[in-house]
Amino acid sequence: MQTFIDIVLFLMLAATAISIVRTKSLFAIVMLSGVFSLLSALLLVTLDAVDVAFTEAAVGAGISTVLMLGTLALTSRTEKPSSHSNFVPFVVVLITGAALIYGTLDMPNFGDPNAPAHVHVGPDYLERSVEEIDVPNVVTSILASYRGFDTLGETAVVFTAGIAVLLLISGLRRRREDEEADEVDDNEGQS
């Protein structure tokens, strides 16, 4: 049953991807990519990675759909027909895909207890985190304590990026509102 579910989900995923490539209406493509990330979230749920699946659904189907619609409001709504041939990109994609599949060949099986991730430092963390950190959730203790500086750096990067985006957007909007207010003043002067 598990294999059957995986195969059906992957078939739907491939069909959605092909349809994204073949569609010209950008709005339809935004809808299709939302469904694409819902499908990949389902695949991640079948792999028991519920948290990753939830991030995929929130970012892929939620935020990026909204962001792409916001972009569509500023640009045109149909894709321009491409002038050059698709052969070279197709070959590049094929080679990259083959390299990725080749890379998975010597990976450990799914759920293998002897995988390097489960025999190296993992058991150590599981044993010691309760007495060392005293937080019941091991993931939290690893993220916030063992890898505390790493998480602090990540937070600083995201915070800086957020401030930069806010500054850029607020500057842009103020300038546009000034221009529009000028136009309204001109029109009222004429009438």
């Binding site: 049953m1 739907m12 069909a15 749920v45 136009e183």
Partner: protein, 97 residues
Amino acid sequence: MFAVAAIGLFIAMLLVLIRLYSGPTLYDRVLAVNSFGTHTVLFIGVLGFLNGRPDFLDIALLYALINFVGTIAILKYFRYRAIGDMSPVTRKKETGL
């Protein structure tokens, strides 16, 4: 029993996907995405019971929330052609105030 439910959900998903790929109007596609989100919620629930560990039902509820907010955003784009704040001038033109 749950396997039958999963297969039924797959068939429903396929029908929705066909509507999404071919959908003549944009509203068909919005509705297809929305109901596909609902199918995702249902499928996560069925998958939990199928594997005998229905621990992820609350996460399925969160998917329903994301789905709802996303659909509101898409429909707002239809109505106003913009997602965020409108400038005062556009708002004046839209509402006539």
